[in-house]
Each structure stands twice: as C-alpha cells, then as structure tokens.
Amino acid sequence: MVVRELELDLDAFEGPFDLLLTLVLKEELDLAEVDVAGVVLAFVERLTHRDELDLDACGEFLVLVSALLELKARGLFPDEDAELADLEPEEAAEELARRLAAYRRMKEAATWLAERLEAERDRFFRVGPAPLAPRAEPRLAPQEPAQLAAALRALAVEPPPVSLRHMALRFPPVAQFLERFRAILRRRRRFDFDVEVGALSRVEQAVAFLALLELRKADEITIAQAAPFAPIRVASGEERSSGDERRAEWTVHSA
C-alpha cells in the first residue's frame, strides 16, 4: 500500500495525499483549512480494508502526518513560536494554560450570547437607514474682515508667468541643409562634412546630419568614413550611380 497515493476527500482538498503535501509545501493550500483528522480517518479506513498490517506504510504515514500536524500548529500561532521558545518549560506551560483559560472564557461568553439571543428572539424593533440630521457645526470665532481680505489678497496675486525659454529649441529646417549640400556638390565633387558644419551649433550640426542621411537615402550622395569618429567624406552620387549603371549594362551585355 502506497501512502502517497492515498485518496482524500476533505472539505478543503480532494485528491491524492502526495498532491496535498505538494500544495501545502508550495503554500498554495492553507494548512489551517485542512482537516488533518480527516486524513488520518481516510488512512485508517484504507487499513481496515486490508487483512495484513503494512508496517512500512504505517510508519511512513505516521511521520508525514505528524509533520503535517506540527506545521499546522506552528501556522496557527505564527508570531508566537519565538515568544514561547524563549520561555522555560514551566513558564511555557503557564502561558499555555493562560491562553487556554482565555479561550475558554470567550467560549463561555459565546454560549452566554447564544442563550441571550434565544431569550431575546421575540424582540422586534425598527432598523432602518434614517440618518439623524447632521449636528450643527460649531461656529467659527469672529473674524477681522481686513485680515481676511489681506489673506485673500495674498492668494489672489497673479502667479509669475511660467518661462518657456528652455523649451525654445529652434531647429533650422532640414531642407535648408539639403539645398546647401546640393549647392556645394554642384561646385565640387566631394566635401568634408566635419569641415562644412564645424562652425555650426550642436543642434544645427544634428539637423545637417539628418539632411546628409536624407541625401544618401535619395542616392544623391555617397558617404565614406575611414573609422569611427574619423571625418565623414561626402561625394556626389552621380559618378558612382552612373558607374553602377554602366556595370549593369555591361553585365546585361555579357549575359
């Protein structure tokens, strides 16, 4: 008989015993809700259905269930393990007795309430949402009108206008640089990007670079850079593209 496969049918859980253990250890099932006595009952019932006593299974089960019980007991007093551990056995027994007595008194009180409820079962009264009028607010101390006006004036002052200067990032249009680069390329075949934009502001340089990319995209220029951070050399694209065309023609002819 395998303890792990013991089928359980409890309020909080239904399935094999090993799944229960797994869920408890993964903290997906609150042990406080598991009826451990139910587990024991299920096991004992299984035992009675068999003729021979399986000592191995009994031993295994005993170990598992006692561990489960200890875990449950600890879980029920989460904060108090440490508290009680510090106490001498004598003091711990006192503390335990005190708690049991406290609980028993509350149980008695609950019994008293139950009896009282039964005795008062013929009480009928109106319960309804009819809220009482709000109590009169205590009046404010008398105020000096001039003082109130002064306070209000302080609040009514026009706030200082918010400065937007830091947001005024003016960009020269990309088109301006497109024109400028095309003009340069009409005059000479190649130029050095860094030299052309060296005198410009940082933002203008960035826009100029965008213009460069625009021109490259349109295949109007070729760009070359020997190494990262090396000067960017820009050349008119016509030469290269015409060269490409020639090569294409040549390829077609040769084919």
Partner: protein
Amino acid sequence: MDRPLRLIATNPVDRLARTVEALLVVASQPLDVAELAAAADDEPERVETALGLLAERYREGRSGVVLERVAGGWAFRAAREAADACARLFERPVQRGLSGAALETLAIVAYLGPCTRPDIARIRGVAADSAVAGLVERGLIAEAGRDDAAGGAVRYRTTPLFERVFGLESLSELPRLDDLGGDADEIRERLHAVAEKRPA
C-alpha cells in the same frame, strides 16, 4: 382606558413628553437623553422626567409598543406578545444562523474590543477573517480605527445594533468574565498532570 389625555395639554412636562414620543417614533436607532434634549430644545432633566412618564405609558402588557432603555439610549420596540405576528411579517437577517465561530468572535469583540483580527485569531486559534466579515455584514461589529503599531491592523468594536439585538442597555451589562466558568487553575493542574506523566 387612558383618561389623562385632556390633562396633558395643560401640563408642560406632558407637552415635552409628546415631543419626545414623536422623536422616538421617527428615530430608527436609540436616542440618548442628550440627543433628545437637543432635538426637543429642552433641559435634559425634564427630558428624563418625560421619558419616565412615557416608559410607564409604553410598558409591556399595557401597550403594543414598548419603550425601553437599550444600547445607551431609548427606543421603541414591539411588545413581546406581538412577536409571533411580527415574525410572520419580518425576517431578521441579523440574527439568523449566527454560527458558533461567529458568536465566539462576537464575544471576543464585545469583551476585548476594539481588537484586531490577529487578536481574535490568537484567542480562537484559527483565522478569524470570514467570521469577522460575516459580523460586519450583519452590522453587529464595525471598524474602529487601526492598531497603533506601524501598518496597524483594522480594529473592530460592537455596534449599537449588537446591543439592541441582544437587548443590552450597554456593554457593561455583559456578565463579568470571571463569572463565566473559565477556570484557569483547573486547566493548569491538568497540564501539570500530563507533564509529570511524561518520562524525563
């Protein structure tokens, strides 16, 4: 049966009694003397006198409506002889099916409140969440601030409705805990007996 109706108009306390009577009829919860005095715009002492007059007029056996001192104030309720008829007319969801766990929780809140759910769980030894939620829903207990500790848990206390349902004038009418069986000495002796049996 009640002749003095004609006299009432001439007696100023009777006049106040009629006002107080009216206030108690429109109220849906017990009113204390201060509230009645404020609403009637009269002296608390005179209101007490008027209440005495009314309590005599509306007493069990004499009237279908009974004036009683409950939940720290005064309120009308139905006479007990009419209970069966009332039961056919009304349900009482507040009282219906209070479980043992709910009553224990209620007792703890009534005696030790305001107290938190962890407080209740410590005494009962099991989580109190659902019992507390059920009692809040019935209106028998209500939130009353938070524990002083950092991230303090919500504290609960019983409501005036609790006192009304259980027919208590105030929480001080609950029996003293010492009178309720809880015999610590006896439990302690039993524990010691068990401890001594254990082989050292």
